[in-house]
Symmetry: D2
Subunit: 93 residues, 4 copies
């Protein structure tokens, strides 16, 4: 469960930004400027993911590692590696 | 100017997806699942950028390279390298 | 400390691959094919980083979280977020 | 064909850096520091790819677009989009 209220605020901002980009497309804004705006939204979403991961490490991951269940411990660590791999570029080539 | 109607459709879909993610956060969905959904939105936006770039290469870039103005030619090629660099990871470390 | 012998093997392979790319450049291989080879080396390095991270989570991070030192715990978790951010694209735009 | 002599120099430097990282692994350097060094090599390789792409746009791509062969024109533009997609994250999720 995500407790940081900033997460929702930032997701809402990204959503508004995406609506703005649709308007820019309709108004015929230059292609490269649209691509740059899309990259800005993606950067904002990267920031949100990092905030969620930080929260997650301090809550679920810490609890699991301090807990008694080795399978649960293994599961949360495996998920971190998976998320790292997905942000990572290895899968893309 | 972007002519591909798919661009707007996909931007709208990404916007709706982001709204769905906000709901997931409010409903207390597991952190890692939220991160995965955010990554899916980013992948969808990557696809939109690629579509816009393809359009751009076939229109503005082709016109500039076939045109008579060496500065304009230089400008459009420089922009492609910049966009590549931004998608790229070099700036981040 | 990295215990997985695969890490050294894979680093050696990536090094050999880079030497091969230098030869390709000298032999005048087509630009785009060189870029693809460079991307393959980067993907191989992503895989090495993921292996090291996995090791690290199961050793240092697990020890720190089970340990008694809250500052050390905080430090290892902060590092994970930093590494995630670096693999991430947020810093680049 | 790549004419920029910097490309070979930088590839050699990256190769030397990778050898240094192998030594660091053998000497038991801290995991996270190894990952950071690997990321530095990847960033250096991103820079090399950008240099090659810039060369390529000014030579092969410009020639093809100014040329008379529509299929060749299509081919070089398609390759740019493919390289962009590969550097991009869409494929990885």
């Amino acid at each position: 469960m995500i407790r940081n209220p900033d997460v929702i605020t930032r997701l809402k901002t990204a959503e508004g930004h995406l609506r703005g980009i649709q308007r820019m497309v309709e108004e015929g804004v230059y292609c490269i400027d649209i691509i740059r705006q899309i990259q800005a939204v993606q950067a904002a979403l990267d920031k949100v993911s990092a905030m969620i991961l930080e929260d997650h490490l301090h809550s679920c991951v810490t609890l699991a590692i301090q807990g008694e269940d080795p399978q649960e411990r293994e599961r949360v660590l495996k998920e971190i590696v998976e998320v790292f791999n997905a942000t990572n570029l290895s899968q893309r080539r």
